[in-house]
C-alpha cells in the first residue's frame, strides 16, 4: 500500500496539537447500576422487565458484534467491569495517552429513546444524563456530556433538554439515528426548536433498533453488511432533515453526525441536487439547493476514516465536503476505533490538522 501516515516528531508542549475527541463511549458496569438514578417504581420495572427494544433478544443483537462488548481487546479495565466503565483506566489508556483536550461522551449501552415503554424511556434518559454528570463530567473536566432524550415523545424530550440546558458540562443533545420515523419529520421538531433555542447542537451517533431493516433492500445476513450499512442509514437521515426543511426552519441548528465516516457525504449532495432538478415542486419549502444545507448545518465526525487506495483521493474527498465540516473522533473503546496518530493516511498541513483535530469542534460546540 502506498499510504503515508502523519509525521510524529516530538514537539514542545506549547506547540503540540491537543485533540478533541467527538466520540467517547462510557459504559455502566452493569444494567443494575442504573438503579442509582431510578425511582423505586422504575427500579422494580427494570428488574422485572428490563429494556424492551424492537428486536428479538433482551441483551444482545441479532447481528453478533465483531468483538466481546464491541471493544478493543486491550480496553478491558484491570479492575474488572466492561470497557469504558473505569474512568481511571480511560484516563490512562485514552485521555492522557492521546492528550485529549475534550472528549464528547456518547452513552450507548443503556439508552432511553429505543425503549418501547415511554415512561421508562424517559426515566432511563434522565438517569443516563445524571450518570454522565455524577460519574464522568463532574470528575474529569475534559469530558463533556450529551443530553440523551426519549425523543419519540417530543414533549418529554424538551423537558429533559430544559433540565440540563445551560449546564456547562452538557454540550449537545442526542437522539437515536434509527428512530421510528426519519428524524426530519415534524413530530420531532419541538426537540429541534429547543436545541436551537439553547444553542445545543444535535450529536447524532449511529444507533437504534427502530424495527426497520438497516437498508431499503431488506435485512442482511451478516454483521459485515449491517456495519457498513450504518453509513447508508445516516445518509437517509440527513436527506430527511434537509428535505423536510429542518435547516430552513431552524437555521441556527447544528447537526453533528457521529460514527458514519464521511465518504458518502458529497455523493448525497450530488444526488439530492440532480433529483431536485425535476422534483423541486414537491419541496417548495426549500429555498436553496439541497446540497447547500450540507455545508451550512451539518458536520461529520471522522471515524471510521475513509481509506482510499490513493492518499490524494482522501484530500480530494475532504475538499468536496469542506475542511471545516469534519470533527475528529476515536470511538474509544470500540474495536474499530481510530488512533489520532495513524487514522488519516494522507498528508495534511498544520492548519488543516488543527481544524480537523480540534478547531472545528471548538467552533461547533463553542468550547
Amino acid at each position: 500500500m502506498s499510504a503515508t501516515t502523519l509525521p510524529r516528531p516530538e514537539v514542545p508542549a506549547q506547540a503540540r496539537l491537543r485533540v478533541i475527541d467527538c466520540d467517547v463511549h462510557p459504559a455502566m458496569r452493569s444494567g443494575a447500576e442504573l438503579d442509582r438514578w431510578l425511582s423505586p417504581r422504575w427500579q422494580q420495572h427494570r428488574k422485572e422487565y428490563g429494556l424492551r427494544l424492537r428486536q428479538p433478544f433482551t441483551s444482545t443483537y441479532p447481528y453478533p458484534k465483531a468483538a466481546p462488548a464491541l471493544s478493543r481487546r486491550d480496553s478491558w479495565p484491570p479492575t474488572g467491569g466492561p470497557p469504558g466503565s473505569d474512568l481511571a483506566f480511560m484516563r490512562e489508556q485514552h485521555l492522557d495517552f492521546h492528550d485529549i483536550e475534550y472528549g464528547m461522551l456518547q452513552p450507548l449501552s443503556v439508552r432511553g429513546m429505543d425503549e418501547r415503554v415511554q415512561g421508562f424511556a424517559e426515566a432511563v434518559s434522565t438517569a443516563v444524563n445524571q450518570w454522565q454528570h455524577d460519574d464522568w463530567t463532574s470528575k474529569d473536566k475534559r469530558l463533556k456530556g450529551t443530553i440523551a432524550v426519549a425523543g419519540e415523545d417530543a414533549k418529554a424530550a424538551v423537558k429533559e433538554i430544559e433540565r440540563w440546558a445551560g449546564h456547562p458540562d452538557f454540550v449537545q443533545v442526542s437522539m437515536v439515528t434509527r428512530a421510528l420515523e426519519p428524524l426530519g419529520r415534524s413530530r420531532y421538531w419541538p426537540i429541534y426548536e429547543a436545541a436551537e433555542h439553547y444553542g445545543l447542537p444535535l450529536g447524532l451517533h449511529t444507533l437504534g433498533t427502530s424495527g426497520h431493516s438497516v437498508a431499503g433492500g431488506g435485512w442482511p445476513s451478516f454483521y459485515y453488511e449491517e456495519h457498513q450499512a450504518v453509513a447508508m442509514s445516516l445518509s437517509a437521515m440527513v436527506a430527511s432533515f434537509i428535505m423536510e426543511g429542518v435547516p430552513e426552519r431552524f437555521p441556527a441548528l447544528k447537526m453533528v453526525i457521529v460514527e458514519g465516516g464521511f465518504g458518502w457525504v458529497p455523493s448525497l449532495g450530488w444526488r439530492m441536487d440532480s433529483h431536485y432538478h425535476a422534483l423541486r415542486s414537491e419541496v417548495p419549502h426549500l429555498r436553496r439547493k439541497p446540497s447547500e444545507y450540507l455545508k451550512s448545518n451539518f458536520w461529520f465526525t471522522t471515524q471510521p476514516v475513509e481509506e482510499p487506495e490513493k492518499p490524494e483521493h482522501l484530500r480530494k474527498l475532504i475538499d468536496w465536503i469542506g475542511w471545516d465540516r469534519l470533527l475528529f473522533a476515536t470511538d474509544y473503546p470500540h474495536w474499530d476505533s481510530d488512533d489520532p496518530r495513524y487514522a488519516f493516511k494522507c498528508q495534511m498541513s498544520e492548519a488543516e490538522k488543527r481544524g480537523i483535530f480540534a478547531g472545528n469542534a471548538k467552533a461547533v460546540y463553542g468550547l
Binding site: 421510528l180 431493516s213 437498508a215 431488506g218 435485512w219 450499512a229 442509514s233 437521515m237 480530494k316 468536496w320
Partner: protein
C-alpha cells in the same frame, strides 16, 4: 446529421404498459377472469407517479396517451435523435410487487410476451429484459427458462427491493439461472416496499425515496458480495439503473476496509469488494450524480478505478437531462467509445451474439 451518440447502445428505455387489461390477450382464461372479475388494471409503482416531472420529460409527454407508450414515440424521441444503434427495454411494471406470486408470475409472463409482440417484433434495434416475479425464485427461474430461447431478451430485470435481499440464499436459483444463460441481472428503482425504504422508517417525499435508492442499491450489492454470489458465479454481472456513481468510491473504500476487519465472518469472499465490484457491477449513466464541476468527473472515475463500469442510457422517457446531452459532462474522451458501446457489448453476451 450525426450526433455524438451515433451508434450507441442505450441500456435503459422504459416502455409504458398501461395496465393489466392490456395484457388480457396474453393471459389464460383463469387469469383473464381474475383480472376482469376483480377490476385489476393499473399497476404503476408508487416510485413513479405519472404526473411527476421525473417520470416523463416535458417534451417527451405526448398530448394524448402515456409517455413511453408506443414504439413510434420511442423511435422519434429516443432512437432517432441519439442515433441509437441498439436499445434495451426495461418495463417498469409493478406486477412483481403483488403478494400473490402466481398472479405476479402470470402478469410478468404476459408482460414479456407483450414486449416481444408490441415492441421487439416491430423494431429490430430493440432488445429487452425479462421481467420476473422475483419474490418467487422458483417462478422467476421458470420465466427465465421460458424466454431464454429468444436471444432478443438479454437480461433479467428485478425490483431494486423485493421480499429479501438478492444475495440471500433463497434467491440463489435466480443468480444461477442468469449466469447460465449469459444474462446480467438489472436492478431498477422499483420496490415492493415489504420493508420501509430506509433504516429510519418511511420518508415523506418522493425525492427522498429516489435519493435514498442509491443506498438500497448498495445494500443489494453488499448482500451479493457478502453472500458469495460472485465467488460462486464468476460470470455474473449486475447492472444498476439510475443508481448514479457518486457513492461508488465510498462504497469500495468502506467495503474493503470492513472486509479486512470482518472477513472471517464471510470467508467465501475471496477478493476485496472493490475488485469484485469492478469486475461484476455496471451502472447506467443517467443520472450520473457527479460533482458539479465537470472537471471532477475524471477524478471520480479514477477513484472508481475502472473504465468498464459506465453504460450509456437516456432513461427515456424519464427527465434526467435536456436535448440530446446524455453524455455526462466532463467524461474523458478515451472513455467515450467505452460508454457508448464497448462496455455494453462486454456486459451483455447475448447482445454480442447478434450485433457486429
Amino acid at each position: 446529421m450525426t450526433v455524438s451518440t451515433q451508434g450507441a447502445i442505450d441500456v435503459d428505455l422504459h416502455p409504458a404498459l398501461p395496465g393489466c387489461m392490456t395484457l388480457l390477450p396474453y393471459l389464460d382464461d383463469h387469469w383473464r377472469d381474475e383480472i376482469i372479475g376483480r377490476g385489476l388494471d393499473d399497476l404503476d409503482l408508487s416510485l413513479w407517479p405519472r404526473g411527476a416531472a421525473l417520470t416523463a420529460r416535458p417534451d417527451w409527454r405526448p398530448e394524448a396517451g402515456l409517455a413511453g407508450g408506443t414504439v413510434e414515440l420511442l423511435r422519434a424521441q429516443a432512437l432517432e435523435p441519439f442515433g441509437t444503434g441498439i436499445g434495451i427495454l426495461n418495463p417498469l411494471f409493478g406486477a412483481p410487487a403483488l403478494h400473490n406470486v402466481d398472479l405476479a408470475a402470470a402478469l410478468c409472463r404476459a408482460t414479456n410476451d407483450w414486449v416481444a409482440k408490441e415492441w421487439l417484433d416491430k423494431e429490430p434495434r430493440l432488445r429487452a429484459s425479462i421481467l420476473v416475479p422475483v419474490d418467487s425464485p422458483e417462478l422467476a427461474v421458470q420465466e427465465i427458462e421460458r424466454r431464454a430461447g429468444d436471444k432478443r431478451f438479454v437480461q433479467v430485470l428485478v425490483l431494486g427491493a423485493g421480499e429479501t435481499l438478492l444475495g440471500r440464499r433463497v434467491n440463489w436459483p435466480i443468480l444461477e439461472a442468469a449466469e447460465r444463460h449469459g444474462m446480467p441481472i438489472a436492478l431498477q428503482i422499483a420496490s415492493s416496499l415489504r420493508v420501509s425504504p430506509t433504516a429510519n422508517g418511511w420518508p415523506s417525499y418522493l425525492i427522498e425515496d429516489h435519493v435514498n435508492f442509491a443506498q438500497t442499491f448498495q445494500s443489494q450489492l453488499l448482500s451479493l458480495i457478502a453472500e458469495g454470489a460472485f465467488s460462486r458465479h464468476p460470470k455474473l454481472k449486475v447492472v444498476l439503473l439510475n443508481a448514479g456513481i457518486g457513492w461508488v468510491p465510498s462504497f469500495l473504500w468502506r467495503g474493503t476496509k470492513e472486509w479486512r476487519a470482518l472477513r472471517r465472518e464471510v470467508p467465501w469472499v475471496d477478493r476485496s469488494p472493490a475488485e469484485i465490484f469492478r469486475e461484476h457491477v455496471r451502472i447506467s449513466c443517467q443520472p450520473i450524480d457527479a460533482p458539479p464541476d465537470p472537471a471532477d468527473l475524471a477524478t471520480l472515475l479514477e477513484m472508481i478505478g475502472s473504465d468498464d463500469v459506465l453504460l450509456f442510457s437516456t432513461d427515456w422517457p424519464h427527465w434526467r437531462f435536456d436535448g440530446t446531452d446524455a453524455i455526462p459532462p466532463g467524461l474523458p474522451d478515451r472513455l467515450r467509445p467505452r460508454l457508448l458501446r464497448e462496455n455494453a457489448l462486454a456486459t451483455y453476451p447475448r447482445l454480442r451474439e447478434t450485433v457486429q
